[in-house]
């Protein structure tokens, strides 16, 4: 009975859903309610699997919604979502009943206004600058007169026309135009491809490699120019071996490529002016150089001729070189005899002076004085001599007396006699018998024994004996 009396429990009469039913209901409700939404937020984690789809999170400070950009949509995007970028995404919500999840399928995603783009640009700038891509040392010199100029821009429109016109005015050159989209989703990849493509060409090939590149675009909004702010474009420009001039937008627009290019031109027209010199000016310059050259040579010759003339005029006559010497010679010639005479005279005077001092009287007096001395000495000498002589005479007399007393003559007085021969004194009989010229000496003379010739020779020999004694 109790079965009949229901005591209804609160809520039990609600219909029961299966999980699938509920999930389906939620799916229908969400996808119906949010079939087209615009959502603003910051891009969180972004993943790009090889499928080409992009998975990302959109977030604010309190919530996160997962999002997906299908491949086809991703390829069309003007700017690719990056983590940290403020974006406005348009799309629809969808759920995954199998995982109790929901997500937004993004059909378009754009940076949330200029501020967001600028913030992104600043971030990229800081990064590339940190890598050194803006360094002045990386900048290549723009060739003075390029032979071939490669222009990366839209093949139609004012930009290429402005560039070609200005080139024609200044210095007609060979120009290769690489057509690219200058805005929209393809812009960045095409521009980067064009820069790399030009660098890949070989000089002098069928497609001759340019020696200067111009990447140009006319003015536009920040979004229009955004392709030139893409990193791939900036990197391609930085890697370009060919010097590159960037001319994107108007003077006030500065895009990322301007920082890495070798030179930034404010407009496409200005890029053409940077690229080539003015031919007419150069022709005029050449003429001017030619005139200067000729003038310098002629004036050099003229100057030398004038100088030569001046010098030859200033050159003295050969005569005049010797005149002074000749005059001097004359002068000396005149002075020479005078000098000689004067010299002699001078010596005469000197001699006179000396001779004056030389006086005969002095000499005579000296002679007299010396003579007196001499006389005095002579007297003394005689006295002394006589004295000595008398002394010697006395002594001689004494000695003679002594001799006489001791000599044989005295003995003769006492009766002895000496027998002489012509050979000397005869002292024995044997000798006397053979000797010739015998004489007997007595005290009063000699008595010859034999003939007178013997006596004669004896007296003859006696005389020298006497002489030799004295």
């Amino acid at each position: 009975m109790s079965d009949l009396i229901d005591e209804p429990i609160q809520g039990e009469n609600a219909p029961e859903f299966s999980v699938s039913e509920l999930s389906g209901a939620i799916k229908r409700m969400i996808e119906g309610e949010f079939a087209h939404v615009r959502i603003k937020g910051e891009v969180g984690r972004v993943s790009r699997p090889r499928s080409g789809h992009i998975y990302l999170d959109l977030k604010d400070d309190r919530a996160v919604i997962a999002g997906v950009i299908w491949k086809g949509v991703a390829a069309r995007l003007a700017s690719q979502p990056e983590e940290g970028l403020e974006v406005v995404a348009t799309g629809r919500l969808t759920t995954f009943p199998g995982q109790s999840k929901y997500q937004i399928v993004i059909e378009d995603i754009k940076p949330a206004g200029v501020g967001a783009l600028m913030a992104l640009l600043e971030k990229r700038k800081a990064q590339l600058q940190a890598e050194g891509l803006f360094d002045a040392s990386r900048k290549k010199k723009i060739p003075y007169l390029p032979e071939i100029i490669g222009v990366v821009t839209s093949p139609s429109g004012a930009v290429i026309r402005d560039i070609l016109h200005r080139l024609r005015d200044r210095f007609p050159r060979k120009v290769l135009v690489w057509p690219v989209a200058v805005q929209g989703e393809k812009c960045a990849s095409e521009v980067a491809n064009a820069i790399r493509g030009f660098n890949a060409m070989t000089p002098g090939g069928a497609l001759p490699r340019p020696d200067l590149l111009i990447v140009a675009r006319g003015g536009g909004s920040l979004e229009d120019l955004w392709g030139f702010n893409e990193e791939i474009v900036a990197r391609a420009a930085a890697e370009s071996a060919i010097p590159l001039i960037s001319a994107v937008g108007h003077e006030t627009d500065t895009t990322l490529i301007d920082y890495v290019s070798d030179q930034r031109a404010p407009t496409p027209t200005a890029a053409a002016e940077v690229a080539v010199p003015v031919r007419m000016e150069l022709l005029a310059w050449i003429d001017q150089q030619d005139a200067r050259l000729t003038h310098a040579l002629t004036s050099g010759v003229t100057r030398r001729r004038d100088r030569l003339r001046d010098l030859s005029r200033a050159l003295p006559r050969p005569d005049s070189l010797t005149e002074a010497s000749r005059q001097k010679l004359d002068h000396l010639d005149e002075r020479l005899p005078k000098a000689l005479t004067a010299g002699v005279r001078e010596r005469e005077v000197a001699l006179g002076k000396t001779a004056g001092r030389l006086q005969l009287a002095t000499v005579q007096q000296r002679i007299r004085s010396e003579h007196k001395t001499l006389v005095s000495f002579t007297g003394r000498l005689r006295l002394s001599y006589e004295r000595k002589l008398s002394q010697l005479s006395d002594r001689l007399a004494a000695l003679d007396r002594q001799r006489l007393a001791m000599g044989y003559e005295a003995t003769l007085k006492r009766g002895y006699a000496v027998v002489h021969s012509d050979q000397g004194v005869v002292t024995n009989k044997a000798y006397a018998e053979t000797a010739r010229g015998l004489e007997i000496e007595f005290q009063d003379g000699r008595l010859k024994l034999g003939n007178g010739s013997q006596k004669k020779s004896a007296s003859k020999s006696g005389t020298p004996d006497q002489g030799s004694l004295f």
């Binding site: 060739p143 003075y144 007169l145 093949p155 290429i160 026309r161 070609l164 016109h165 080139l167 024609r168 210095f171 007609p172 050159r173 060979k174 120009v175 290769l176 135009v177 690489w178 057509p179 095409e190 491809n193 493509g197 060409m201 497609l207 031919r279 150069l282 022709l283 310059w285 050449i286 150089q289 030619d290 200067r292 050259l293 000729t294 003038h295 310098a296 040579l297 004036s299 050099g300 010759v301 100057r303 030398r304």
Partner: protein, 80 residues
């Protein structure tokens, strides 16, 4: 003075050397013989520059691209 053959000389280099040659000659401190050599060099440089200037010719072509974005030819550009 460099001895670079003229034919290999860029316009800019030829121009720079011509300027040096002219200034040197104008200073007048070169020997007469040298000044004649210098003049000859200057005249050659001038001729070379002039030829480069006269060779100025406009020729504009647009690169045509294949499917893969690589260039496959040239086509003339007209009306610009």
């Amino acid at each position: 003075m460099t001895d670079t053959p003229l034919a290999e000389m860029s316009f800019e280099d030829a121009m720079r050397e011509l300027e040096i040659v002219v200034s040197k000659l104008e200073r007048g401190d070169v020997a007469l013989e040298d000044s004649i050599t210098l003049y000859q060099r200057g005249a050659d440089l001038k001729k070379h520059c002039e030829e480069k200037l006269k060779a100025a010719e406009e020729k504009v072509a647009q690169i045509t691209l294949g499917e893969d974005g690589t260039p496959n030819g040239l086509k003339p550009v007209e009306g610009l």
